[in-house]
């Protein structure tokens, strides 16, 4: 700091998180919007006792750098070329320092410096492989192999979930087909998966073979499983209106598996309270409504299905019981016309 008579120069007092206090020329400090605001709004910074507390991300070394930046740029007469040259030299820092600088500048709301350092960091990232980026920035390799492939892949690996997806998709299709019958047909005919719903159900049931009530209850439980399969932040209505993509998958696969297993039992009522409590209440309400609606719609075609099941009861073969993907899916060629 230059030695000048106090009354000729104003200083702002700043305190960093480690407790140390320093005084900085006013015009330099005021270049930082955050400091500027503090001074103007609270009147702080005029003396050592009333030093402005800087955000935690600003340590003394970094503050020094920031002030160097401010000291240079706050001078009005400089040409663009001069500023550019200064900037180019200024950001020649190691990765760690650049990160600290970006973080600190952001907390002081010093936008031009944030932009400058961000861009420098971006250049250091571009063209690198994930491994190289991790090395440069000392980042942990904490994504699992599966997650690296596609973090959501896990969700569709479970054969039960996949089957449910199919069931769901087919139901959606049927509903859509019925709607379409009222309107002019869409140009692209989306063909329905003709596989009998019963096939899917029989697989789902696993150990329970062929009991009628089981089919009925597991159909309803499928609706309940929609509940499980909703994510709080994913809009659900799109799925019911013709989206042929998969049902959004749950965020906790293991929990789902357990609870899905538990719920597959011939009980007609299920306790809403047991189901995922972490859903936001508004979301829960919406999902409740949808599940209800869906169940209602399912149930409306159920009597028909019952007839079909009854008439085919004789032809049915016992299905394979394993639930890890080696079971068979059969088609009843008479039923669905293909």
């Amino acid at each position: 700091m230059a030695v000048v008579k106090p009354e000729m120069k104003s200083y702002i007092w700043l305190q960093t998180a480690d407790g140390s206090i320093q005084q900085v020329e006013e015009e330099v400090a005021m270049f930082c919007p955050m400091i500027c605001r503090e001074v103007l709004q609270t009147g702080m910074g005029s003396s050592k006792n009333y030093a402005i507390s800087l955000p935690q991300r600003v340590n003394p070394a970094i503050l020094g750098l920031i002030l160097d930046y401010c000291r240079f740029h706050q001078v009005p007469g400089r040409s663009n070329k001069e500023r550019k040259t200064f900037d180019e030299k200024f950001i020649r820092l190691d990765t760690k320092k650049l990160c600290e600088l970006t973080s600190a500048a952001d907390s002081l709301q010093l936008r031009p410096l944030v932009d400058l350092t961000s861009r420098a960091l971006a250049r250091m990232i571009e063209g690198k492989t994930p491994e190289e980026i991790r090395e440069t920035f000392h980042l942990p390799d904490d994504l699992t192999e599966e997650e690296k492939l596609e973090p959501l892949r896990n969700m569709t690996d479970d054969p039960r979930i996949r089957l449910l997806n199919r069931l769901y998709a087919r139901k959606r299709k049927e509903l859509k087909e019925r709607e379409k019958l009222k309107n002019v047909e869409v140009e692209e005919e989306q063909h329905v998966d003709e596989r009998s719903v019963d096939d899917l159900l029989s697989f789902i049931n696993g150990a329970d073979e062929g009991k009628l009530e089981t089919y009925l209850t597991s159909y309803i439980y499928c609706a309940e499983l929609l509940y499980f399969l909703h994510e709080p932040d994913c809009p659900t209505s799109s799925c019911l209106n013709g989206d042929t993509g998969n049902v959004p998958s749950p965020s906790k696969p293991s929990e789902l598996q357990d609870s899905a297993y538990v719920k597959f039992s011939p009980k007609l009522d299920f306790d809403d309270g047991d189901i995922d409590d972490e859903l936001d209440p508004a979301m829960k309400e919406e999902i409740d409504r949808e599940v209800e609606d869906f169940a209602r719609r399912l149930n409306s075609v159920w009597p028909e299905r019952m007839q079909e099941i009854l008439s085919l009861g004789q032809e049915r073969r016992p299905v394979s019981l394993s639930v890890n993907g080696n079971g068979s899916l059969k088609r009843y060629t008479g039923l669905d016309g293909r």
């Binding site: 340590n59 970006t102 920035f137 799109s238 013709g242 989206d243 993509g245």
Partner: protein, 605 residues
């Protein structure tokens, strides 16, 4: 300064606040870099996905709309490709799939701020277009490249409702032309157009509406007209659009009534007013009399597409060779060897050359275009890196010359029209020639082969073509060994499309794992059995194995019988549910099913 308090720690990038991380990422836009970012660590994955603005989906069935939306909550630009490339050659039966509607529905609900949609080889219905026009308030760019399924009614909706539309590009789509008046649906307040490409439309659009639209679009840079706009009308349009950079004419032929010299003068004058013009296309049925109208702009041209100029123009080569700045040339084989030689002497900036056949079904050569033309350009144009060349004869010597002169070649597609044609001088297969290509051109990313080829060729490819990403084969090879060389050797291979080659089960099964590292594999009329398809599906749950067979259910034939067509692609969204009757998607559990009572084990629609 006092010592640092013990609780203080240095800030590392993974403890940067999310907004700062996002700010850093906002500077990084290439898909490759964004993908790398997302694989670094959990916190970066999160930060990256939240601020990702643009996504490219190379295969619409590799991922589902819901997965996309869940992972990327704030997209502004989506690019999706649908049918495999061989659909361009009518190898994918109608109704196969690639419907855009489910995407439209999902995105309409979740991306209210979506600005850009670019589609290639997808089926797009009018409903989708209407949905787009009404759901995205800030919609700016619609590109439909080689799409189908929509009519001009859908276009009318886009025109009417997209207030800030900048780009409407219909590529080479098949549009059902119900009325030329759709263009009039652009409101008078619409002045934002930057690019309009309606070249694929068959019938006439309302010219007055077009003229008014062009007149009130000061930012228009690209305008591609359709064939129905005759040459006499061009001056009217160009007068309003002198700022154009890319222009596609309509029909360039003489109307019987027209005064040829008057038209000539008017059009030339109109062109001379266009100082920024760099690219020209269109020229349907261009007649020699009118061709020199491009003289006022030809020396500045960097791109020239004459692939619709179906009338032979004398001295065409000489005319084009005056375009010294030409970087991209698409032309019919009327250019002949002599024309290409002239171009080789003068157009030193040429990077991309495509020569299309004027009459592919003629029994013999109808023009004098041989391997000489390609050799001339390869030797004479130092920047040549992308070639698509249709011809009737070729020699190994020519290919070797090309390879030696152009090690910078990136895309090389050679189509010798008659399958299994050998070197016409030595009668040998083209192993040595294409071998030289892959050996010398180390940056080669795309290769299409033709002519007589043995397994030895594929050995060369496997050994040398390390950066090859896309390979197209037809009527080539002797045995499975050929395919094995490709699958085991080409490390960067992403897309492989094969037709009528004797490749079968062994190579695929031996290299099954490779298929999960690729985007897709297409094989039609080869020797892959149904049994192998089932085995692949069982071994590789991350793939969809699609059997496309219009002869009926694969179960009605022995398992060892080859399937008609096979399309295998990796996916994270499981099997699709919109398959038509001739497509069977094999579940991984199907492979182990014992058969009885004639019940099949396939999931099919």
């Amino acid at each position: 300064m006092s010592t640092l308090a013990p609780h203080f720690r240095t800030v590392m990038v993974n403890s940067l606040p999310l907004e700062v991380l996002e700010h850093i990422f906002s500077d990084i836009t290439s898909d490759k870099d964004r993908n790398a970012l997302s694989l670094v660590c959990k916190s970066w994955y999160e930060a990256e996905r939240c601020c990702r603005k643009s996504v490219f989906i190379g295969n619409c069935y590799a991922v589902s709309p819901s997965i996309l939306i869940r992972r990327f909550p704030d997209l502004r630009s989506v690019t999706i490709k649908g049918k495999p490339h061989f659909a361009d050659f009518d190898l994918v039966p109608e109704g196969w799939g690639a419907y855009f509607y489910p995407w439209a529905v999902s995105m309409a609900k979740s991306y209210p701020w979506l600005e850009e949609i670019r589609l290639k080889r997808m089926v797009v219905c009018d409903e989708s277009l209407e949905l787009i026009s009404k759901s995205f308030k800030n919609f700016k760019v619609l590109v439909l490249q080689s799409c189908e399924g929509f009519t001009t009614d859908g276009l009318a909706a886009i025109a009417a409702n997209c207030r800030n539309l900048r780009e409407l590009d219909l590529g080479e789509s098949e549009v059902e032309d119900l009325s030329g008046h759709w263009l009039s649906h652009f409101p008078d307040s619409c002045t934002s157009l930057v690019s309009l490409n309606i070249a694929c439309l068959a019938s006439e659009v309302s010219f007055s509406a077009l003229e008014r639209l062009v007149a009130r679009s000061p930012h228009l840079r690209t305008l591609r007209l359709n064939r129905a706009v005759s040459i006499e009308k061009l001056p009217k349009l160009l007068r309003h659009a002198s700022q154009l950079v890319e222009f596609g004419t309509g029909s360039y032929s003489a109307d019987i009534q027209a005064d040829v010299s008057e038209v000539f003068v008017n059009v030339s004058q109109a062109f001379s007013g266009c100082n920024q013009l760099k690219g020209l296309s269109g020229f349907w049925e261009a007649v020699p009399a009118y061709f020199p109208t491009i003289y006022p702009v030809h020396s500045k041209l960097t791109s020239l597409n004459l692939s619709y100029a179906t009338i032979q123009i004398p001295e065409l080569g000489k005319l084009i060779s005056d375009c010294h700045n030409l970087q991209r040339l698409w032309v019919l084989d009327y250019i002949e060897d002599s024309g290409l030689e002239e171009i080789a002497n003068s157009c030193k900036e040429l990077q991309e050359l495509r020569v299309f056949p004027s009459d592919p079904f003629a029994p013999g050569p109808n023009v004098s275009l041989t391997e000489q033309g390609l050799v001339a350009v390869s030797v004479g144009c130092p920047k040549l890196q992308s070639v698509l060349y249709f011809c009737r004869q070729m020699t190994n010597a020519a290919l070797v010359t090309i390879a030696r002169n152009r090690p910078n070649m990136i895309r090389f597609r050679l189509c010798i029209l008659e399958p299994r044609t050998p070197d016409y001088l030595t009668l040998e297969p083209f192993d040595a020639g294409f071998g030289a290509i892959v050996q010398h051109c180390k940056e080669l990313r795309r290769l299409s082969l033709s002519g007589l080829l043995t397994d030895r060729m594929f050995e060369y490819i496997g050994v040398h073509a390390k950066k090859l990403e896309m390979l197209s084969l037809a009527f080539a090879g002797d045995s499975d060994l050929g395919l094995h060389h490709v699958l085991s050797g080409c490390e960067s291979l992403r897309k492989l499309e094969i037709r009528d080659c004797p490749f079968g089960d062994e190579a695929l099964l031996a290299n099954a794992a490779k298929l999960e590292t690729m985007r897709s594999l297409w094989m039609s009329n080869c020797s892959v059995s149904f049994e192998t398809c089932k085995l692949l599906a069982q071994k590789l749950p991350g793939l969809n194995v699609e059997v496309i067979d219009e002869r009926g259910h694969p179960d009605t034939r022995p398992e060892s019988c080859p399937v008609e067509k096979l399309y295998i692609y990796r996916t994270v969204s499981g099997r699709r549910f919109d398959t038509p009757g001739f497509v069977w998607i094999i579940d991984e559990d199907a492979a182990l099913t014992p058969y009885s009572n004639g019940n099949c084990s396939l999931a099919s629609a």
